[in-house]
Symmetry: D3
Subunit: 223 residues, 6 copies
């Protein structure tokens, strides 16, 4: 077994990669897997459209094909780009952070609410939740709808997350929140405190799952 998890930020923004790297620090320990976080230098600065998703899939295929020195892969974008194709080309476990976070949330609460960055990403996320057969467990998804510049304003971003989290909790009936973005783990705890219900940070959820999963002798490689 390769004692290493490759966490792939499928965009080219180093600040996000750093945010992810810090987020998974709590999952690094003596004897545990190396958790390596990389990005796609040729990827777009962020993934906001289906077009962005499609653009990074070939890059993910290349990267995973090249990096077979690891025990598990985590695709650290809430649109889970490429996870189904990656599972075809490697026998090792592959997890997207959306599925990682959502399935984790199912073991915490009755209905999860998701916080998106951009409103226009919500239909794409809803398609994915439908594809997982989980629509009946979703309370709703709402967006903070802040642009790149506004997102650099931590106070403003925090305020919007709390506002949207309250709507998900009070209007939509969510009892657990999933953050629908990567690289923003530092907002998780204050958001949880403000809302009083658990908040799942997706990259942490997905990487945590893979630590043990990579040690399982299954599934066997299939043709």
């Amino acid at each position: 077994m390769q004692n290493r998890i490759l966490v792939i930020n499928p965009n080219s923004t180093a600040a996000v990669t750093r945010g992810i790297d810090e987020a998974v620090n709590c999952l690094r320990f003596q004897g545990g897997p190396v958790i390596e976080v990389v990005d796609l230098p040729e990827g777009p600065p962020g993934i906001q459209t289906q077009g962005d998703v499609e653009r990074v899939v070939p890059l993910l295929i290349q990267l995973v094909s090249r990096r077979d020195d690891v025990g598990a892969y985590v695709v650290a974008c809430y649109s889970d780009p490429g996870v189904h194709v990656l599972r075809e080309i490697t026998p090792r476990p592959v997890l997207g952070i959306a599925e990682g976070a959502i399935l984790t949330a199912l073991t915490i609460g009755a209905r999860f609410g998701a916080i998106a960055i951009l409103r226009k990403s919500i239909p794409r996320h809803l398609r994915a939740v439908g594809g997982m057969g989980l629509s009946s467990r979703m309370a709703g998804e709402r967006a903070i709808d802040l642009g790149v510049v506004e997102l650099t304003n931590r106070e403003r971003t925090m305020a919007r997350m709390i506002e949207v989290g309250r709507e998900l909790r009070d209007l939509d009936g969510a009892d657990v929140i999933v953050m629908g973005c990567s690289g923003m783990a530092s907002y998780r705890q204050p958001l949880e405190v403000a809302l009083g219900i658990p908040v799942v940070e997706p990259t942490q959820a997905a990487v945590a799952w893979m630590i043990g999963r990579m040690r399982l002798p299954w599934p066997v490689p299939l043709d």
Copy 2:
């Protein structure tokens, strides 16, 4: 953090406990959590009815209340007895092996099929899958329907598992199989080879998940 996972076989049959203990051996490693497997000496020899489920819940509550020296709990019975109440009394993650296995299977295939030991357990399991909102991802559940004596016949048990697995695959359309029982991990690999599709052993799936999950700083304890 308590670097220990408590795996609770909620019946009193030591052979099952030993089977579970061996099953999780592949998840023990230097630096990783101690994986302690215990049983309920006052529990029934097996959990076959809703009555058995109800009987062990108070015992599980007592055990978890007493054993707060651990970082995570796994309830190693495919009926997931008591998981919702245990989540109320401890802030640490609690996972039943049915939910652990089924949610894992969702990341492997499109529709899972479950193999039960007894036919009369199937309605109980279906209620649980419905409660998880996952009916649309289930291909079906079928039982090997062997009694205690027959189960000691490994060849016969293996043959029935393969037979039932084929029905799930060919008649019901399963592309991943979940073993709906604990303590039978030694059947997993030959079953997978015979069927040619992945087979999830539930205790391994659940314990593997908790190795990382216990390190996460969330969810915070709620009132």
Copy 3:
């Protein structure tokens, strides 16, 4: 046939038992079954948590085992504690008031809304609705969120019920309301008048159903 329905208030609060007893008065008639309402003196004062649910299940099993002089059982708590296990130990019909009320509501409107007393009960109720496979018929559930002292204030309680009922009707799209509590039947009619849509009182709904059901020659006792 034993011409008697045993309605079990699974808590120890006599005021609730009395409320239930009055609620079913409209269902008592010459020639019809005796409707006997009892409580569990050793039960908790109310059922607010999954822990409370689990605590009363063994008491319910004992009571039903001892009282086989009746033709049907109704468990008069909106969490439907123990109904599945009780069905295993008696061949006579057993109905929880949540399922009784919700299935009745399905024959009245397109989407039901439920009024809970406490917000923290909602995830438990949602799990049950999911387990019944009825999530798509539920408009939502909202809580009046009043404490024990406030609940003794009839005016305040009525006002909150109407408020929450309006939210279910106007924000969530409910066209029939289910009261998610027992012993509060006296609020039903004024609530219905205030909302202008039908309001189902769960104990009445469940007991009414059993009056005829207890006379059916089925299901036959199964092993």
Copy 4:
């Protein structure tokens, strides 16, 4: 309250009406409602198509409008013709036998299987189950597919019912069976014995429910 239930066989075949009349005998008792069974002399001999359904709806509207001397109405055809429109024109409870039987079955087992007379009725029944939001609780529906002449052969009919019931139980996973026809209650018990799982006769299920329901003070008549 009018202490009478009007059971309407919406076809013109007196033999079916008599079968229904006998089926509800077990629900008649001193002090209980008069259970009056009528048919539609101008209706078709049987309801086999959507065209037959549509043809009887105006007749049902006329009959219910004229017969306001009753406390509840049961439409005794498994296609539940007209129940939604009848609920508009009378404030008294109206129940179709399909919904009566299916909702009853939900309180008995995890997944119901339905036995149709004719294969071509199945899509119509499935639409209704979908409209009730209950597809995830249905194991399947299968037809005995016997013509009018064959149906007069009791032995042949019984044999086919058992055959189809076994397929529903063993291939589709039903743990409770609903008879998808009226007037055949005499087959219920032997079928149940042969299958070893509960069998719900729909007219009995629906009429039994109304005995208590007609006494409830709700829902109030709405505009």
Copy 5:
């Protein structure tokens, strides 16, 4: 093939018929089918209740039986009266505008919201969406709730449509809107501009579909 589509407004209000006729003008072209719009002079002025639905079904059956000189039928009422029975009596395609609009909306957005005229029609529409198995794709339905007189006030009607459309978009999460009425196509474009998300006019959607569908050699007439 009969190169003609018969669009049936199943009420007797000529203004609605004219509105439909104008709505489909954009679908008339040289070489394409004649699109003939008729109404039911004996039908009610509008379809507001299930009773209205039932009243027009026999009229629709008569009309379709008489008019076999066409290649396809569109029933231009958002309650889709009679579509299932009409499919029994003609081998040519029959489409209701609700199914036409909703299935079209599924190819445009992730969750559709519907705008009803009257609140009391919503449960009827929800039953239909459930019967189509599409509840998980519906964001919600809301009514402008204007009476006949108010509807003649174009400004007021437009304002309410925009208001309700915003609620569907912002509170319920719709990313595509379906107009739940016929004869109001002139409101479609300004509504779409005001909301910034696509708005589907149901008669246009249904008729557009039939232009090609009527040329397909299937389905073959079935007995």
Copy 6:
């Protein structure tokens, strides 16, 4: 409006392209749109895996970007590659043949069954059906599982299609069949005759829909 539909066979096999071209002949008429069928010379010979899907998406994006001289696009592969991204880059309607066929089937029968070529494609198709929220309307999907050489044997292929169609009809309860492949329209009619239930050819279904849809003035191009 550009009076042309571009049908894209996203593989490089000219025989499939020819098969599609013949299939849509019945939809060509004087005054109607030009129906142009093209393939992707750089695409794989067939689409059998998620990897094949991903490989053709960039080619589809290029093609659609270049060919803005058309009124509608149909992606003629049952995996519907790229439809969501194509909808982002063109304001004109885009339809995949799987969604086109399945939504058409919903207007014909109660539950559709799909015939796949290869077994390993089924999970991919099921994900798509789940993503459309249509799992409850699907009877099942089964594969003829023939290799490239066997597929050239028309008799053998026909026999397998009929065999699999019968299983979908008799074991899974399908009342309408969807062919889960393109370029095989010549099998449609004999299959329908053999099965006695309607069979939908997906490219015909999708192209037929677009003939009218391309004339609609909506949706307007959004940002």
